[in-house]
Amino acid sequence: MTAGSKQAAPGMKTYVRPIGSWWLRNSFYRWYMVRELTCVFITAYAVILLWGLMRLVQGRPAFDAWRENLASPSAIGFHLLALLLVTYHAWTWFKVMPKTLPFISIAGHRLSDRTIIALGVAGAIVASVLVFLAILLSILQAAP
């Protein structure tokens, strides 16, 4: 709830209960927080790509400088961490899919939760392999 501000009369002060580090209380909360914080990495990754696109518009020296930065240890470190966290995001995304999708029935049988999760994970593996192969093929085609 984002309450407070919406319900209180304008100018009226409402008591806001301070919340401490509640996410440290147990491992369920901790993993919830890890999942929520994956969004920082997804956002940052999108910004890095957008930045690269801008450098691409600016011309060859600018773009090459951006690529040079990508090879720096801190950039590699960031991407390694992002890889880990976004993979965790993917796993949690598929894990809740039975709850976020509407019921799917095939021939009168509802798809089980396990099937939906398995389909999600399989879909991600297939999509990722296809992306990698497409990139690899484009490179092989270019080579004489």
Binding site: T2, G4, S5, K6, V16, P18, I19, W23, M33, E36, L37, T38, C39, V40, F41, I42, T43, A44, Y45, A46, V47, I48, L49, L50, L53, M54, L56, V57, R60, F63, D64, R67, L70, A71, A75, I76, F78, H79, L80, A82, L83, V86, T87, H89, A90, W93, F94, T100, G120, G123, A124, A127, S128, V131, F132, I135, L136, S138, I139, A142
Partner: protein, 116 residues
């Protein structure tokens, strides 16, 4: 009653969540680790000429736009929910700022793509 804009932003959040769950890790691996290090893929995979050629065709433009825009909508939507978890009150203004940033990023992306 005023119509809520929640379904719109939630759909974009969901689309970004799905896209990043399907290919996010692979994209990060390719553009952030494999290519910069020349590991499994040559560093020239993301050369200036190849990247320009990629975004000069319609498919490449669409792919870049979908990834950047939907990742932003997903990430920024979740980020403002995170603020609430940390005890920061999320006002309507702050919410508009986060969605506005995603919209601004999308517009910037379309503008940049149109220049290529």
């Amino acid at each position: 009653m005023k119509r809520s804009n929640k379904p719109v932003f939630w759909s974009l959040f969901g689309a970004g969540g799905m896209l990043s769950a399907l290919i996010g890790p692979m994209l990060i691996f390719v553009t952030g680790i494999a290519v910069p290090l020349g590991f499994l893929l040559p560093r020239e995979t993301m050369s200036y000429d190849r990247m320009r050629a990629f975004v000069q065709n319609g498919f490449g433009k669409l792919a870049v736009l979908l990834v950047i825009s939907l990742f932003l909508f997903h990430g920024l939507h979740r980020l403002y929910h995170c603020l609430h978890d940390f005890g920061i009150h999320v006002s309507t203004v702050l919410k508009a700022v986060f969605h506005g940033l995603a919209i601004a990023g999308t517009i910037a992306c379309i503008y940049l793509l149109s220049r290529l």
